[in-house]
């Protein structure tokens, strides 16, 4: 039993634990009056305990008027749902159930022909006529269904009123139940055929009015009020007529329509929806349809309309849910008076980069290439050269909002613990401490961050200030953690304030970094451009280079360095500069050297070893 049963239920279990029928829910079990049993449970429970022969096998609540005992014998004290109240026959009462279908059971009906039974019952309730659905013999009982509550009641009262040819009275048991049905390929095929006949391709309209009564579906119970069947129908529509514009679901005994939420995703063009003569109880029941861009809606014949005394309020409430509606219940609506607000405002397209001054482009590119070559190398120690003596650096980190991914690689522990998020770090002392000041502190902090490879081609760079005294640039992009297991990719936003240094180069005086997880889109596109290659490096002018030394090179780079140094006579520092600015293209570096050397642009100190 469910854990949430509580004491009362447990108490009942003690009494009924022998009874496997107890799986039905509390309300169902005692729900003789569906929807009205609030506050009456005590009474009903009490009754249940006293009189445990109430049929609880039903798939739903409702007038389980006859009980198992009705099968056990003829005559005797039958149909007494009331407590053992002593003598006297209690007049049985028919109470309508919540489901639109009723199962009629004729015990020992197998003794008679189908025709005999139906004729007998029909003549008994004459002049009313019922249509017996899905008649079949089950054991020695005959079972069929009717879909009309009035006829169900008439049949209910026919119990033991008719004496059959064998001298026994005909018993009639009425239960509020729907025929069970399993959806298989065969059934889907039948539904598809029935739907094909009901589709009008010129208007893109599908009429599923009273679908269960379709002659194509006579032998199966294909009622759209059952969610499984409705969903199967929607699947068939989405597959065969995805551009459907109008759907008629009139007269299908629809009650709960929560599952119709899927219409908005499966049938995006659905503009006209008829749902008249159903059992939709409340205006709120329409909520799942809100996402449909309906212009026409038909709801007449649903209980929800009777809840409005004022028809105007009904119209306005429906329009609130479907603001594009121009026709409701067959009546044209006056155009709604709206507000002149900007409706579909779009965000301006984004640009990869902004340069406050195009002259800064080369310098920024060179600076970042060199900076991240070192940053992504084995040791970040050489970055000392890239920072101003009094540089300050701080980093903040946070997780993405509503990120459902929960892999270990998503953890940002190595950043969060050092995050200077002043929304969290509120004490002055801590705020000062989390700000790394001085180049030694800065580089030592950076050296402790995970090893990385940045996706330089995926950088969005904005150059905000470009004056002789100061450069401010902001980068957005992603990098991979190269030594962390799983090589997670992170997203960052970083700002450098750069100033000229004494040696004619540049250095960072403010560095502000933000780190978070990548979005799924970022992850998909990360490093999409492949190897990081410096695109057509500008002709290097050796003088205004950032005052940095080279990163620790791999073997090829070391070899190139030695070769260039030998062939040109330049010292390592200048050779590295030359190679870096030509993207480690040896031939090009040599060419550039020769060119600049013949022009006499290489200073003598370049040759001092």
């Amino acid at each position: 039993m469910p854990k949430n049963g509580g004491r009362i239920r447990n108490f009942k279990n003690e009494h009924f634990e022998h009874d496997d029928r107890m799986h039905t829910s509390n309300t169902r079990r005692v729900s003789f009056k569906p929807g009205t049993n609030k506050g009456k449970n005590k009474w009903n429970n009490a009754k249940l305990i006293l009189d445990d022969d109430i049929d609880m096998t039903g798939t739903a609540g409702g007038p389980h008027v006859h009980r198992n005992r009705a099968f056990r014998g003829r005559g005797g004290r039958l149909n007494s749902p009331a407590p053992r109240s002593g003598h006297g026959m209690i007049k049985k009462k028919f109470i309508a159930g919540p489901l639109p279908w009723y199962q009629i059971i004729i015990p020992y009906g197998a003794k008679h022909d189908k025709d005999v039974i139906l004729r007998t019952l029909l003549s008994h309730i004459s002049p009313d006529i019922f249509i017996p659905h899905y008649y079949k013999i089950n054991g020695n009982a005959a079972v069929f269904y009717v879909d009309d509550v009035k006829l169900a009641e008439k049949l209910f009262h026919a119990d033991r009123k008719i004496t059959m040819s064998d001298g026994f009275k005909l018993m009639v048991i009425v239960r509020n139940a729907v025929p069970s049905v399993a959806i298989d390929a065969e059934m889907k095929e039948k539904m598809k055929l029935a739907m094909a006949k009901r589709y009008n391709p010129t208007t893109k309209a599908l009429d599923l009015t009273k679908f269960h009564a379709d002659p194509e579906l006579a032998d199966i119970f294909c009622a759209l009020f059952r969610p499984v069947i409705m969903l199967a129908a929607i699947d068939i529509i989405a597959e065969n007529i995805p551009d459907l514009e109008a759907l008629n679901l009139n007269d299908n005994k629809l009650h709960g329509i929560e599952h119709l939420k899927i219409l908005a995703t499966k049938l995006k063009n659905l503009k006209i929806l008829y749902m008249g003569d159903n059992r939709i109880p409340y205006i709120g029941s329409l909520e799942p349809l809100k996402a449909l861009p309906l212009v026409e809606l038909y709801l007449k014949g649903n209980p929800l309309l009777t809840r409005f005394n004022d028809h105007e309020i009904y119209i306005s409430d429906v329009r609130k849910k479907f603001p594009k509606l121009t026709k409701l219940d067959g009546v044209d609506l006056p155009p709604a008076i709206g507000f002149d607000v900007l409706e579909d405002v779009h965000l301006p397209p984004r640009q990869q980069s902004f340069l406050v001054d195009p002259a800064g482009q080369d310098l920024v590119r060179e600076f970042l290439t060199q900076y991240f070559a070192i940053y992504d190398a084995e040791s970040r120690q050489p970055l000392l050269e890239a920072y101003h003596e009094h540089a300050t650096m701080s980093m903040a980190a946070s997780y993405l909002t509503n990120d459902s991914r929960n892999a270990a690689t998503q953890r940002l522990n190595s950043y969060i613990t050092n995050s200077r998020n002043i929304m969290r770090i509120t004490e002055r002392e801590s705020r000062r401490r989390y700000l790394r000041a001085g180049r030694l502190q800065v580089v030592s902090f950076l050296s402790d961050l995970p090893k990385t490879t940045h996706d330089l081609m995926g950088f969005a760079v904005d150059l905000l200030v470009f004056t002789p005294a100061m450069i401010v640039l902001t980068m957005n992009g992603v990098y991979k953690e190269t030594t962390t297991s799983g090589n997670p990719i992170r997203s960052f936003h970083r700002t450098f304030v750069i100033v000229p240094n004494a040696g004619g180069g540049f250095c960072i005086i403010n560095d502000m970094l933000f780190i978070t997880n990548t979005t799924k889109e970022q992850e998909d596109k990360a490093f999409a451009t492949g190897v990081v290659v410096e695109p057509t490096p500008p002709t290097p002018a050796p003088t205004p280079t950032p005052g940095m030394v080279a990163p620790s090179q791999d073997d090829t780079q070391k070899m190139m360095l030695t070769m260039l140094s030998q062939q040109t006579g330049m010292n390592d520092h200048w050779s590295i500069n030359c190679l870096q600015q030509t993207g480690w293209d040896f031939q090009r570096a040599l060419f550039v050297f020769n060119q600049l050397n013949t022009e006499g642009k290489i200073p003598p100190e370049a040759f001092v070893k």
Binding site: L342, E343, D344, V345, H346, L347, P348, P349, R350, Q351, Q352, F354, V356, H390, T392, S394, M395, A396, S398, T401, N402, S419, R420, N421, I422, M423, R428, R431, R432, L435, D455, M457, G458, F459, A460, D462, L464, V465, A469, T474, N476, G477, V478, S491, H493, T495, V497, V499, I509, N510, M512, F514, T516, T519, Q522, D524, K525, A526, A528, T529
Partner: protein, 137 residues
């Protein structure tokens, strides 16, 4: 570090808190007034689109859909006064989520400001806004 420098760090943080509170309130609720927060020659770079000058910034902001910004992190540093004609200057970085009209999804954004004290008022010298999206072209 001198005592003045330390105080300046504290002040940068406190100014950043106050500034962002006002800035996002204006942008989300009183956008027609938000250009007042920029220098006349201020620069806004919105997802790589550069907008120069207070008037143009106002027009650009008005054309953006209605927004709601929620900050998750904030950071601030003083920028050396020698660099900006001896005016007090702070670097502020604000990150969080933004939702736009007609779209319920929270978009992560990162925004960096350079603010300068001019005649007793904090003004934005430059403002760089980026949504967190892939930028590979």
């Amino acid at each position: 570090m001198s005592e003045a420098a330390v105080k300046n760090i504290d002040n940068a943080c406190e100014t950043a808190e106050e500034f962002t509170k006002i800035f996002y309130k204006q942008v989300d609720n009183n956008r027609h007034l938000s250009s007042k927060l920029y220098l006349d020659t201020g620069l806004l770079v919105w997802n790589g689109n550069g907008i120069n000058g207070n008037d143009k910034i106002q027009k650009f902001l008005m054309d953006l859909p209605a927004s709601n910004h929620v900050l998750k992190t904030l950071d601030a540093q003083p920028i050396s006064e020698n660099l900006v004609s001896n005016k007090l200057t702070y670097l502020i970085q604000a990150c969080g989520d933004v939702t736009y009209q007609n779209d319920d999804t929270k978009k992560p954004f990162q925004q960096t400001f350079v603010i300068v004290a001019v005649d007793g008022k904090w003004k934005i010298a430059s403002d760089c806004f980026r949504l967190q999206v892939p930028y590979n072209s």
